[in-house]
Amino acid sequence: MIDLTVIWACIIGFAIIAYVVMDGFDLGIGILFPFFKVGQDRDTAMNSIAPVWDGNETWLVMGVGGLFAAFPLAYAIILPALYAPMIAMLLGLVFRGVAFEFRWRDPAHRAFWDRAFTTGSVIATFAQGVALGALLQGITVDGRSYAGGWWEWLSPFSLLTGVGLLVGYALLGACWLNWKTEGGLQRQTVTYAGRLGIGLLIMIGIISLATLRLEAQYYQRWLSFPGVVATAQVPLATLIVTFLFYRSLRLKRDAQPFFWALALFGLCLVGLGVSIWPDVVPARVTIWEAAAPVRSQLFMLVGASIMVPVILAYTAWSYWVFRGKIGTEGYH
């Protein structure tokens, strides 16, 4: 059944994917930042994302704005439920966002803003991971509002997903720098990418198994026959993509590892979809229950179907302008 609500769920899903694809690597660079040599290496890493980070982060606003507009009930339930991680994420994004400009403005305190960049990136990433975990493990809903306490999000599982996302974004960051840089920094990031790949695979395994135990719905979706024939393809594909990822690293490819790493993320999101579809608050509220009226969704769909392709076009153009290796010149 394809209706407006399903289309909007897909658009928001797309915004989340776009966000992970684009902001994942620049948060990852923030996470890895302290391991890069002060000076040239750090400047290059920063310059590789300076012209695009702002656009990348806009997808986060698109995701949450779309949720507000198309599924206001879900927005109204989820954000209070994830209060602490959301506030932490926002404050983290404040620190890392301004660091892009401030570190150049104030050489005397560059070390401070570099730390702010890393701390902000780590907090924002960890909070996003925790938020995902908290949603998956189920939140207390009563009528049209959140009914749990302000620490409900905190659990071993949500901490685990937080760490998982840190590893994942760091991997994307390493792969991005492998693509965009040369010399010592590139060699360094290739090493990191290799280790982080193993780390991510382990995290995916643990989190997947832990997810099955959270709700009966998840367990049934994945393991009951005959659905298991289809769902088993997801872990299988994950193994294949992992193999291709390491192969491209071994062949010293520049761009390929980044895209294989993205494919790993894509499979995680597919897995997430298998678990929760068609819920917008997992195991609590379906997309239809939370949906805004047809008039709202239709009005936005007109805008989205015109603007999203336009946005993608000029975003692509912007990446194209700053294509290729960063080298040493920098364009900051």
Binding site: P72, P80, V98, P107, R295
Partner: protein
């Protein structure tokens, strides 16, 4: 302190801080577009230098605007979830349009605008600058439409579950009765805010070196803005006030300090201390019947007071009353400096009148203060409702415990004052440097341009 007051304080704090940056960057983006256009047209180096000078400042302001703005898109949900659930179907799509048509446009072209001039060439770079400037305006359009709908809600239906649902016409919702006035008044305010900052920076450097060509040019441009836009703004403000009187008379009562009704012409209270407990303005200095003259264009026109409004439907009077006087006072000071600048031009002393320059420096932050005051007038004046007359603030908040809201408020206060405090310090530092004949490109720190044609060489080559 209850959770509602804390949530209100948090929203007021985060939105006020945020508003400072777009209020500056809306005008500054347009100013940059004008400078670049003039440079493309005339080829004069002074415009290119001023462009690069203000571009560095713009980058810092914009970064702070972005990060403080992302916070706002979550504040509705984290602290005002019941409001979000109820009003989401109407205002959510407008905010989604802001993201789709404005945020992406700004963000997508900002990178090219800041760092791309030697990669895309001058014309395409100018397009990028225009796109960013247009983005800031479109953003103001949508968010002010949302805000105006909360002030003057029309075109909605009430759903069975208590939600506000959109009626048949989105245009009715978007162009709700207070929107055109608020948009015009706010965008002009943003232009004036920028003009007065630019003017103050120009004046500051003129006081040190009255021959600096960059300082002269920016001071002159800013003073033209003051002379032309300030009177228009006072007129626009008056129109907006009349519109408010029509749709939100209670807000005007608070602005005027009219606790009592005046059947035979209401006085204009210039100053005084509103005393809500005693329902009067203490120590009032007033002009008899002038308020009726301004609001009704008739000396003896009756004006209702807050005594006609139930106690539970009244906004806080003191804050609205004072914020309104600050805003209006600044407006007239702006008009004054605009007139002085015309006299100075006529006497050919625009660059040689230190008193005028000192006045301009003093007025530097005036636009920001006026914008915040105006915002306080309109937002506090809307209380005790979130959706005026329909949804009470007390029935809009998230089901959160006070400690949760208090700790996040504390975190925002600490982080904002630290981060944006330093950011503002960097801005002042950038403004302290005089505009030079060979203004370096944005972000002068990482000059690692060996062997590559740096942006300034291209600009100077073209402008030579």
């Amino acid at each position: 302190m209850d959770a509602i007051i804390l949530a209100r304080a948090q929203f007021a704090f985060t939105v006020s801080f945020h508003f400072l940056f777009p209020a500056f960057s809306i005008g500054l983006a347009s100013y940059l577009a004008v400078l670049e256009a003039l440079w493309l047209k005339t080829g004069k180096g002074v415009y290119a230098n001023l462009f690069r000078y203000w571009l560095k400042i713009f980058a810092v302001v914009f970064a702070m605007g972005v990060v403080s703005g992302i916070v706002m898109s979550y504040q509705f949900g984290t602290n005002w979830s019941v409001f979000s659930d109820k009003a989401g179907p109407v205002i959510g799509p407008l905010m989604a349009y802001e993201v789709l048509t404005a945020f992406f446009l700004e963000a997508g072209f900002l990178g090219v605008m800041l760092f791309g001039i030697n990669k895309v060439g001058r014309k395409l770079h100018f397009v990028a600058t225009l796109a960013v400037a247009l983005g800031t305006f479109i953003s103001a359009f949508w968010i002010l439409s949302v805000n105006s709908w909360m002030q003057t809600p029309v075109g909605y239906e009430i759903g069975a579950n208590g939600q506000f649902l959109p009626g048949p016409s989105w245009l009715t919702i978007i162009f709700n009765p207070s929107f055109p006035y608020r948009l015009f008044h706010t965008v002009l305010a943003a232009y004036l805010t920028t003009a007065f900052i630019v003017g103050a920076v120009g004046a500051w450097h003129l006081l040190k070196d009255r021959c600096n060509p960059g300082a002269r040019k920016m001071f002159s441009m800013a003073m033209w803005m003051a002379a032309i836009v300030a009177p228009i703004q006072i007129f626009a403000g008056d129109m907006h006030g009349l519109n408010t009187l029509e749709h939100q008379p209670v807000k005007v009562m608070a602005m005027e300090g009219h606790f009592q009704s005046h059947p035979n012409g209401a006085p204009l209270i210039l100053f005084g201390i509103p005393n809500s407990a005693k329902q009067r303005v203490d120590y009032a200095i007033e002009i008899p019947k002038a308020s009726s003259l301004i609001l009704k264009h008739q000396l003896d026109a009756p004006l209702k007071g807050l005594d006609t409004v139930p106690q539970t439907d009244r906004p806080p009077v003191g804050i609205v009353f004072w914020a309104f006087r600050v805003m209006v006072g600044i407006g007239f000071a702006m008009l004054g400096i605009g007139l002085l600048s015309l006299i100075a031009r006529w006497r050919k002393a625009l660059y040689d009148w230190p008193l005028l320059h000192r006045f301009a420096v003093l007025m530097g932050p005036s636009g920001l203060i006026a914008v915040l005051s105006g915002w306080i007038v309109t937002e506090v004046g809307r209380q005790p409702f979130t959706v005026y007359g329909l949804l009470r603030t007390t029935q809009s908040a998230s089901p959160l415990d006070a400690p949760a809201v208090a700790s996040s408020l504390l975190a925002f206060v600490v982080v904002y004052f630290t981060v944006f405090g330093m950011g503002i310090w960097y801005l002042l530092h950038l403004m302290k440097k005089p505009p030079e004949a060979h203004e370096p490109p944005p972000s002068d720190a990482p000059i690692r341009s060996a062997g590559i044609t740096p942006a300034p060489a291209i600009i100077e080559g073209a402008s030579a």
